[in-house]
Symmetry: C2
Subunit: 358 residues, 2 copies
């Protein structure tokens, strides 16, 4: 593998973001099998790879559709022929309404909402598109991110959707903390009872998260799962037990470009490559060749190495491979991934949906 | 200004990265005047804007040349006609040597080194280009980043450069901590005496940093200054006293897309827009319309708002302007900046050198 990293450095320069397609395929097949066992459809989140090439691998393995986090991603995927797309994000504003309406002519769209402004925007898009739009209610069951906080609010918004011309109440979108499955079930049961009492019939209950793959099948009523990071995995996924080192399919090939002192060094991968997302972990990545080295901090193009715990210390010029803390944001920094298979470079994969605003 | 933000949201969608060209021009003129007063040439660092359009504004105001942090930036700038480029970074590896040699045919290049591997790479590039290459020794005077730690090492590397065919020892590159000017002067004096005793004549002593603009003229012997962030400024520059709010020429226009609870909300700008670079500050940006709001943390497309200290709290759909903590990394996330002048949208500026690897 280090020989491969050397070849990548020679042919592409460093830092380079490299994916092992054998591992990607294995990760894709494994999740598909787990979803199948659990009786839940697989709707992978493409925000991790932003690539129609990899989304096609997920579809070919059996994914029912895809999830996007913003219109810009969905536009790229729809243009590449993906025809069943969930945007798991509140959409609002004139510019976005127009884009959503245009997208509805190209793919079967589902959106989620947690407030009346998003419902009005969805209705506006449906009106402009002249066709119905499926809408999920986003529910917060402990993450304190987006989503209504109570089943009563979920039912109230569901009824508001049911009353809107052009909108179809489709169900609920969940993103439970991994430890909050019982609370999530209680929330969902109450919300389901409420909407059914109002004569609404949810057809889609979407849960999500790579760390929640272990919880597949544990939420009664869930019909789909959205996982993103599993396709590549990262140091965060290893830390929470969702992946092993062998499951990590992406690394950053970098060069040690300075060794100012015996205990320190500099990598040519800084916050403009690995990003400052820590994922709550100590250090900013795992260096496969020097696991005791700590990526202590970043400048934009400098990774500050603390080598004090290393017995063998990399000389200037050494090429290393880094498993990033958070892979989704690293992919988002580059326009292409270098693809490998069986230890050989096989091509480049454009990060086609990178840089799309909103 | 809020009306302008509304127009930007309507025309471009959010999140949008917006620059005020009036302020940009004022920042550029001010630094140029300060450099002139201090008798130091201005060689702005383009890593902040990555745009030939803005680099041309800096050149037209009197900049002597430009600074880039990597070959990819220098390639874009050379293609746009910039002919005097310093790369303030160790360059090494076959792929980069070939690119540096090619660049030498297009622009007058200066590079910096802090180790023999970089010196060998520079000599290799000069040999391939068939013309001399100017080389600075990078000196670390307290930042513990790249750079030799002692004047003796600096002198030793300078002599090694002097002995290499094709290389011209040009001088020293400094990036002193703002509080370390006396130590930097002592280091520089010793290094200068050493190289002069060896018969070498440095022609370029480059210092850098926007926070060091207050120190312009305080390093005896300095011939040039590299500042990057000053062109836009950010919350970090305000925090260290290098800029006022009026000097901040870039903001991120975002929308409040969720209000799950009375004390919290979600912005459509997360770590894929504002980045997780904190710059050591509490919170991830200053919301101009709600300065008491704290951007507490990020998901990729979610900015988590803590509104508990706000008397007026933004409803869902409100468009706000954010001064980011670290502007250089925010520009690097997008392919274009929205340009404004006198409260009007005047066009788009491509971030042409974004996404270049190494």
């Amino acid at each position: 593998m280090t020989e491969l990293a050397q070849r990548i450095a020679r042919d592409y320069g460093t830092p380079a973001v490299v994916v092992d397609l054998d591992r990607v395929e294995r990760n894709i097949k494994r999740l598909q099998a787990r979803c199948h066992e659990a009786g839940v459809a697989n709707r992978p989140h493409i925000k991790t790879h932003k690539s129609p090439v990899i989304a096609a691998m997920q579809r070919d393995a059996g994914a029912k559709g895809i999830t996007c986090q913003k219109l810009g991603e969905a536009e790229v995927m729809a243009a590449a022929g993906f025809d069943d797309i969930l945007i798991s994000y509140n959409i609002m504003g004139e510019e976005k309404v127009a884009r959503l309406a245009a997208l509805m002519g190209k793919a079967e769209m589902t959106v989620c909402v947690d407030n009346p402004v998003s419902i009005a925007a969805a209705a506006d898009a449906a009106g402009r598109a002249g066709r119905p739009l499926k809408v999920l209610i986003e529910c917060d069951t402990g993450r304190k991110r987006a989503g209504v906080e109570t089943p009563a609010e979920a039912v109230s918004l569901a009824c508001a959707i049911g009353e809107r011309n052009g909108l179809t109440f489709a169900g609920f979108l969940l993103y439970p903390p991994e430890t909050a499955i019982p609370q999530t079930q209680a929330f969902l049961d109450e919300a389901l009872a409420g909407v059914r009492a109002s004569g609404l019939t949810p057809s889609m209950i979407s849960s999500g998260g790579t760390p929640n793959i272990v919880n597949l099948g544990k939420i009664a009523g869930a019909t789909e799962h959205r996982a993103g990071t599993y396709v590549f995995n990262d140091r965060m996924m290893m830390a929470c037990g969702a992946a092993s080192l062998d499951d990590c399919a992406l690394n950053v090939v970098a060069t040690v470009v300075s060794r100012g002192g015996p205990d320190r060094g500099i990598l040519d991968a800084g916050s403009k490559t690995l990003t400052s997302d820590t994922g709550g972990l100590d250090g900013h990545g795992l260096i496969l060749e020097h696991p005791q080295a700590r990526i202590a901090k970043f400048a934009e193009e400098h990774g500050f190495l603390d080598l004090s715990a290393c017995r063998e210390r990399p000389p200037v010029g050494e090429v290393v491979r880094i498993i990033p803390n958070h892979v989704c944001v690293v992919v988002n920094m580059v326009d292409r991934l270098i693809a490998t298979r069986g230890g050989e470079i096989v091509g480049e994969i454009p990060v086609a949906a990178r840089g799309r605003i909103g």
